[in-house]
């Protein structure tokens, strides 16, 4: 009982800390498409980045991108360029900017803006086809930490 309580307190503290350091979508500073500062202050977890990139309900990046290192996860699309070597072509700051909001780097890109939660036309409640009860309840497609996790994986893609 006491341990359980302690861990609840610890958890609450953790969440509190994470929120304090997390940059909200509205406060992200883009400089020519790149974002210098970590969105959370917590280093990204590349293994979770793989999960985010391959999961249809999360980033689903491979729907549009071929990635040789992710070959075991079918199916890879060809709408965007292959991400092989992306860690050579881009700095971590540029990669963070691209994943957070690709349209800052590539104007009018078809790539979704993963760290944005307003300014849409007829935004829906996920894939229900219905309007959300409250538009201000719309959450970003990926969380700040998920973006950091994806970036941690992308930097490993070297030729």
């Amino acid at each position: 009982m006491r341990t359980a309580l302690a861990s609840v307190v610890a958890l609450t503290l953790c969440v509190g800390v994470a929120q304090a350091d997390t940059i909200t979508p509205e406060d992200v500073m883009f400089d020519y498409g790149e974002v210098a500062q970590s969105l959370t202050g917590t280093p990204g977890d590349a293994a979770n980045g793989i999960k985010v990139m391959t999961n249809r309900g999360l980033g689903n990046c491979i729907a549009c991108h071929q990635v040789t290192a992710l070959e075991e996860y079918p199916y890879h699309g060809e709408v965007g360029p292959s991400l092989d070597g992306a860690g050579d072509r881009w700095t971590p700051e540029q990669l963070r900017g691209i994943v957070a909001n690709a349209k800052e780097m590539f104007p009018d890109s078809i790539m979704p803006s993963f760290y944005k939660r307003s300014g849409y036309i007829r935004v829906g409640d996920a894939f229900t086809g219905k309007a959300p009860a409250n538009e201000s309840d719309i959450t970003t497609l990926l969380t700040a930490q998920e973006i950091e996790d994806v970036v941690a994986f992308l930097v490993t893609l070297k030729d």
Partner: protein, 283 residues
């Protein structure tokens, strides 16, 4: 036993006969060995600067799916055409009439599918096939309107398409229809939903590319209604639109809404020059 052997032999024969016809994206589609379908042609003038060639969705499908559409005996949509033919001849409503009472055979409406949606002067609006069908039911037959996306209506649109197969799509975009067409065009290029995707993002800028495992087509509707193998039933144009817009994480529009009527006219006009091909088979 002998029967089974025969069956296998027949199967092998059919396969052998069909083998040369197994179609690539450049091969012609000829239905029942006689109806020639234009599946690739020059884009209509209004698409200048957007597309040079227009292609039926058939050219993007696998050999196995393509071949199902080459013979009505293999086309799973044809049972719905048969059901609609029965409905066509069935007297219903307070006026004691069937479709046949006024129109005789369904072939009398050949060409109708090729030119709808179209301006209806009496109504002062652009009308789709569904609206014409329901108008006949309520005003001439004294029968109940069918649900736009119901089985009866989808079957009837399949019958109406089938009698126009091979005719070029030719919807009017000028004159009184121009305003509706313009609305539809604006929608086509609007990036809806949280994924901020327009029809054009996928079907103009990225057709022929794979998105995950899906081979993106030009999103043409010349072949609707389509029998979707995934749904094992006919799918109406508006239901397909509804699904696509929902998949952009948007609040979608309703089947039969003024927005989808405008979008249908615009998308149909992007296929002006392709043949009417419905009911088709798609994955």
């Amino acid at each position: 036993m002998r029967k089974a052997a025969l069956h296998v032999a027949a199967g092998v024969l059919t396969l052998a006969a069909a083998a040369p016809a197994l179609a690539g994206e450049n091969d012609p589609l000829i239905i029942n060995g006689q109806i020639e379908i234009t599946t690739r042609t020059a884009a209509p003038a209004h698409l200048d600067g957007h597309l040079s060639e227009i292609r039926s969705g058939w050219t993007f499908r696998t050999d196995e799916t393509q071949v199902m559409q080459m013979d009505d005996f293999d086309n799973p949509a044809m049972i719905y055409v048969d059901a609609a033919t029965d409905a066509w001849n069935t007297v219903e409503g307070s006026a004691d009439k069937s479709c046949a009472s006024c129109h005789e055979g369904p072939e009398s409406l050949a060409g109708f599918r090729a030119t709808t949606p179209k301006w209806n002067a009496e109504a002062g609006a652009v009308w789709t096939q569904e609206m014409y069908v329901n108008n006949c039911r309520t005003e001439r037959m004294g029968a109940e309107a069918w649900d736009w996306n119901g089985q009866d209506m989808r079957n009837m649109t399949a019958l109406l398409a089938s009698v126009s197969r091979g005719m070029p799509v030719n919807v009017a975009i000028d004159g009184p229809a121009a305003e509706t067409w313009e609305k539809g065009r604006e929608m086509y290029y609007t990036r809806f939903g949280q994924l901020e995707l327009s029809c054009a993002n996928c079907h103009e800028d990225n057709y022929d590319n794979l998105i995950r495992a899906d081979h993106l087509s030009q999103g043409q509707i010349n072949a609707f209604p389509a029998y979707r193998l995934k749904d094992t039933n006919l799918v109406s144009v508006h239901n397909r639109f509804r699904g696509c817009i929902r998949d952009t994480r948007a609040a979608t529009f309703a089947v039969g809404s003024p927005e989808f009527i405008a979008l249908e006219l615009y998308v149909a006009s992007r296929g002006n020059g392709l043949s009417v091909e419905g009911p088709s088979v798609r994955n």
